[in-house]
Amino acid sequence: MHKSKKLEIQTKNGNLRNATFTIHEESHTLANTVRYVLAHDDDVNFVGYSVPHPSEFKVNVRVQTQQQKSSIERFDLALENLCLVTNSIQDEFKNKLEKFKEEKGIQKEEVDPFVISLKRQLRKEYKKMKANID
């Protein structure tokens, strides 16, 4: 399938203070996160998102800003902040993972001794059967 539009922006008379972003090939995964970041933005008056229909793979994000601020800029800033946040999560996870592996290493699952014995008996039986065939 030829992939066409990713992003559409709808404004009234080109006024960028209030805009609806229609993002294709996206779902709650990204939209809820962007909405959450924009909600904590002091320059943003209103932010909300919706999935118009569950069969269609797109979301609408509505952003309304204070005077003289562009909603596109705010959206852009929100995405940048998300990238920064993800970077710090990645670094933290890497550090903690290395520490954990140094200290404890990859642990083994605890298995029921009955299960271990069962597997051993099965192996014996199957070896016998294979020997009979060969």
Binding site: Y36, V47, I72, L79, V85, S117
Partner: protein
């Protein structure tokens, strides 16, 4: 949805807790603690993050990380009781132990490429995007199999006389024999003669019951995932010198009776969980919020003892005569402690998440989480690029009502 009119209003919406989000100070409040890490499962706690982000990672783990699974099954012969489509469905669900990074997505062919005159589909399959597997199993009686073996021995004797001419034929026959034999993977543990304990006897009885009459008189009456044989195409033999197998060798695909046969060729392709659950790299990835338990009033000794008893998960304990919350992590929010008049306040800490990731075995769980973070960043960056292109275009086209762009 939130209306940023005044912070007092926000506090009403969030139950009195104002959780700020400051991307610059995020790393100060954020921490991860890994609790458990095994080959297939990872459990860890994230503090200082909120539900939208944690949920985004969980959703990506379920639907956006690519793996490889069987997609197309060409059935040459299926005389078993399992219907063709059911067999194909089951084959698709078998996890295949190969790193999907080596492969590309197979492009879906546009209709124009189908040669309508010859009714042959020109496929986009290549060594870069497809894995081939063969499954050929025939169920026979042991006695019949011995007859076949004897006749083959005779043939082999004849062929030994004319070795040079028939070297190639012998190789073919060996391959056929291998496919018809039982291929049950025996682990690397050595056979030690150990003392028989009670557990061993019980296990023996269990095994006796499992080996039914059928298993004793037939060979190959169970078709297992270990019977899937990888067929390398192109230069795949050099990229995967150790071979490609399913993650587990003893997944039961079908059961056969005497004379039934399954002869099938499978093509495995890269995909994501969004399209079909067989491509999902996790059994499940889930999180829960850590509970917050507060004691609001002082209790007498009698009442404290009662409280310790009422909690089924033994969250409370009396140490040095004082009631303390020792195992708050074990709390399952059953609300038993709220029934009596103990003054317990139960809640969830909205920025602490206990995450667990159970992998199917294809990709290690710690790598899965790192891939999920990468994919999330890619999504944000690609959307950002689109936005920037949009502003460039807008600067050249002003005064338009609706602006669309690629």
């Amino acid at each position: 949805m939130s209306i940023n009119v005044g912070k007092e209003k926000i506090s009403q919406v969030l139950d009195g807790e104002i959780l700020e989000f400051d991307p610059n100070n995020f790393s100060e409040n954020f921490s991860i603690e890994i609790e458990k890490l095994t080959k297939d499962r990872m459990e860890f706690v994230m503090r200082g993050i909120e539900a939208p982000l944690a949920n985004a990672f969980r959703r990506i783990l379920l639907s956006d990380i690519p793996t490889i699974a069987i997609e197309t099954v060409s059935i040459k012969n299926n005389t078993s009781v399992i219907q063709d489509e059911v067999l194909a469905h089951r084959l698709g669900l078998i996890p295949i132990n190969v790193d999907p990074k080596h492969f590309k997505y197979r492009p879906k062919q546009p209709l124009q490429q189908q040669d309508k005159n010859n009714r042959q589909e020109i496929s986009n399959a290549s060594e870069e995007n497809t894995l081939l597997f063969n499954l050929h199993v025939r169920c026979l009686k042991k006695t019949d199999w011995e007859k076949i073996k004897k006749s083959r021995e005779l043939l082999a004797q004849k062929q030994e006389k004319t070795k040079e001419m028939n070297l190639e034929k012998e190789d073919e026959e060996e391959e056929k024999e291998k496919k018809l034999k039982i291929e049950i993977e025996i682990g690397s543990e050595s056979e030690d003669e150990e003392e028989e304990s009670e557990i061993d006897e019980r296990a023996k009885e269990c095994v006796e019951k499992m080996l039914t009459q059928r298993a004793k008189t037939l060979i190959n009456h169970r078709v297992l995932s270990s019977d899937l044989v990888w067929v390398p195409i192109g230069n795949q033999q050099t990229t995967f010198p150790k071979g490609i197998k399913p993650v587990l060798p003893d997944i039961l695909i079908a059961k056969l009776n005497e004379g039934q046969e399954i002869d099938v060729e499978c093509e495995a392709v890269k995909g994501t969980g969004r399209e079909h659950a067989k491509w999902c790299p996790v059994c499940t990835a889930s999180y829960r919020m850590l509970p917050s338990i507060k004691l609001k009033k002082e209790l007498t000794k009698k009442v404290s003892k009662k409280l310790v008893k009422t909690c089924p998960m033994k969250v409370f304990d009396i140490e040095d005569g004082l009631l303390e919350i020792t195992n708050s992590r074990k709390c399952t929010m059953c609300r038993e402690c709220l029934r009596g008049d103990f003054g317990v306040e139960l809640g969830l800490v909205k920025n602490q998440f206990y995450f667990w990731i159970e992998s199917t075995g294809i990709i290690a769980p710690e790598e899965l989480f790192q891939q999920a973070l990468e994919i999330f960043k890619e999504k944000c960056l690609s959307l950002k690029n689109n936005l920037q292109n949009f502003t460039k275009k807008k600067n050249s086209n002003e005064n338009e009502e609706e602006m669309n762009f690629d």
